[in-house]
């Protein structure tokens, strides 16, 4: 489960991130983060809100620079992978372009890369996320869940080397969310893309990930890394297994060290 034998797709060494508020005060969002994620691994990042989970993701997506330490994705700086159009992301905000129909939103990465749009691939992914028949719809005509699924299809359309997911199912209802989790596992198994998922949900993390990284409140530090022992493919049934509950309880406790002391 742990990656030393694998080649690292993502590597954070001694990473800190400070945000300057004004001339004299700054906030430490991340402190001394060391994390290596192997090629083809699925890692989930959980922690209380404001713990810097999303900051880690933004560092890996080349949207922020670390204040200290090094960040490497696929052996190089994150910006190099982004410039090579080999990075896939889905944010909490679907960030679909309102003036483009769904199919063209999903095809957007092809256009950005200056490549011919592979229509078959777009159709394939739309089928995968259950949006067949909505190709010509505009984002404003879709439900929140459908928009989120469109943004996930978009993140996969160029077969990225690394997939970064920031709470992509956060706004969905429980049923849709579970359905999306099952779909995401299937997509991941089919492709073996290295994936980092930021989530609030312990269940989601356990269901999907090879390892779960638990972070502390600000300044964000890594409290614990838990390997998830369940065999794949995982069926929704495992969420009812005793071992699942046991692990979920341990992770929930790890999330709130204060409540353990109480």
């Amino acid at each position: 489960m742990s990656p030393p034998s694998l080649k690292s797709a993502i590597e954070l060494v001694g990473v800190s991130k400070d945000y300057r508020l004004d001339r004299s005060t700054s906030v430490k969002a991340l402190d001394g983060i060391d994390l290596a994620i192997g090629e083809g691994e699925f890692v989930a990042l959980i922690g209380p809100s404001g713990c810097g989970k999303s900051t880690i993701l933004r560092l890996l997506a080349s949207l922020e620079e670390p204040s200290a330490g090094t960040v490497k994705v696929a052996g190089g700086p994150p910006a190099a992978l982004a410039a090579a159009h080999r990075l896939g992301v889905a944010f909490q905000d679907h960030a679909l372009l309102p003036w483009l129909p769904v199919a063209r939103n999903v095809a957007l990465p092809f256009q950005v890369a200056g490549r011919a749009v592979d229509q078959a691939k777009v159709a394939d992914l739309l089928r995968l996320v259950g949006l067949t028949g909505f190709e010509a719809a505009r984002p404003s005509q879709l439900s929140g869940g459908m928009r989120q699924r469109a943004s996930i299809a978009r993140s996969l359309v160029l077969d990225p080397e690394v997939l970064l997911l920031d709470e992509p199912f956060g706004a969905l209802d429980a049923v849709t969310r579970r359905h999306m989790n099952i779909e995401l596992q299937r997509i991941w198994q089919e492709r073996g893309t290295t994936t980092l998922l930021v989530t609030h949900s312990v269940d989601e993390a356990l269901f999907l990930a090879d390892r779960v990284v638990v972070m502390s409140k600000r300044p964000g530090r890594i409290l614990a890394i838990h390997p998830v022992p369940f065999a794949r493919p995982r069926l929704p049934d495992i969420m009812r297994a005793e071992e699942f509950h046991h692990l979920a309880d341990r992770l929930t406790l790890a999330l709130e060290p204060e409540s353990r002391a109480a």
Binding site: A61, A95, P98
Partner: protein, 248 residues
């Protein structure tokens, strides 16, 4: 408020305004210089005067259209320019604001010397239009949401690709809104420009009628200018709505 009652209230307002105009004119409540609406319409409706109004209108509209096209092109080009070369922005912003802040009456002589009397209406219209379009488009180009900007960064978009796929479409609603205001501004600019000695135009009629106390002629020219302005404004509002529906 429903759409139907909106129209009813709007129509009621227009009727009240026109009726008020007529009453004030008939009873000379505002003196001799306020003719009743019916007198103005009768004056405008006399076919022997149509060639005069036709020539003036054609001249004003052609100045306004020329100024509009030049102003829009200039505004677009400069807004795109400062967007791609941000170092030029502070200077260009200030220059645009300064040109706009100078009263037309002060610009007039400079324009006459530079573009001669016949070219001044178009030049003044262009200045007004340029400013409106420049301000709207240069802020519209930064109107895309943060998450959409981030997405293009992560996808590895180059500068021109980002402009084409995200920033330009995101600026279209602001551009459409500025065109709406710029249409009336171009007519206003052209009429003002004609006061500096243009050979013909609605502005010339207005000025001459005022100086010679030809009250019905004065009001006819004003009514004509207002009517054209309003018609264009309505057309542009329709265009603006279509763009907003599509791009927001």
């Amino acid at each position: 408020m429903g759409r139907a009652s909106q129209i009813v209230y709007g129509a009621l307002g227009v009727v009240l305004f026109l009726a008020g105009w007529e009453v004030i004119g008939q009873y000379r409540l505002a003196g001799l210089t306020w003719p009743p609406l019916s007198t103005v319409i009768e004056f405008l409706g006399t076919s022997s005067r149509w060639p005069l109004f036709g020539r003036a209108l054609a001249s004003t509209m052609s100045s306004a259209a020329t100024g509009f096209l030049i102003g829009v092109s200039l505004g677009l080009v400069l807004a795109l320019g400062v967007h791609l070369l941000p170092r030029l922005r502070p200077g260009t912003d200030r220059l645009a604001a300064m040109v706009n802040a100078i009263p037309a009456i002060a610009l007039g002589p400079i324009l006459i010397v530079t573009f001669d009397r016949a070219g001044t209406p178009a030049a003044l219209a262009a200045i007004h239009v340029f400013f409106l379009v420049y301000v709207a488009v240069s802020s519209g180009l930064t109107a895309a949401q943060r998450a959409q900007q981030d997405l293009l960064t992560v996808l590895g978009a180059k500068r021109t690709m980002r402009l084409k796929l995200l920033e330009a479409p995101a600026a279209l609603p602001a551009f459409a809104s500025s065109l709406k205001v710029a249409l009336s501004a171009s007519i206003l600019g052209a009429i003002l420009g004609e006061w500096f000695g243009a050979p013909r135009g609605l502005g010339v009629i207005i000025l001459n009628a005022m100086e010679n106390f030809q009250i019905p002629l004065l009001w006819s020219a004003v009514l004509l200018a207002a009517g054209i302005s309003l018609a264009l404004f309505g057309l542009a509002t329709w265009l603006e709505r279509a763009v907003h529906r599509r791009f927001r």
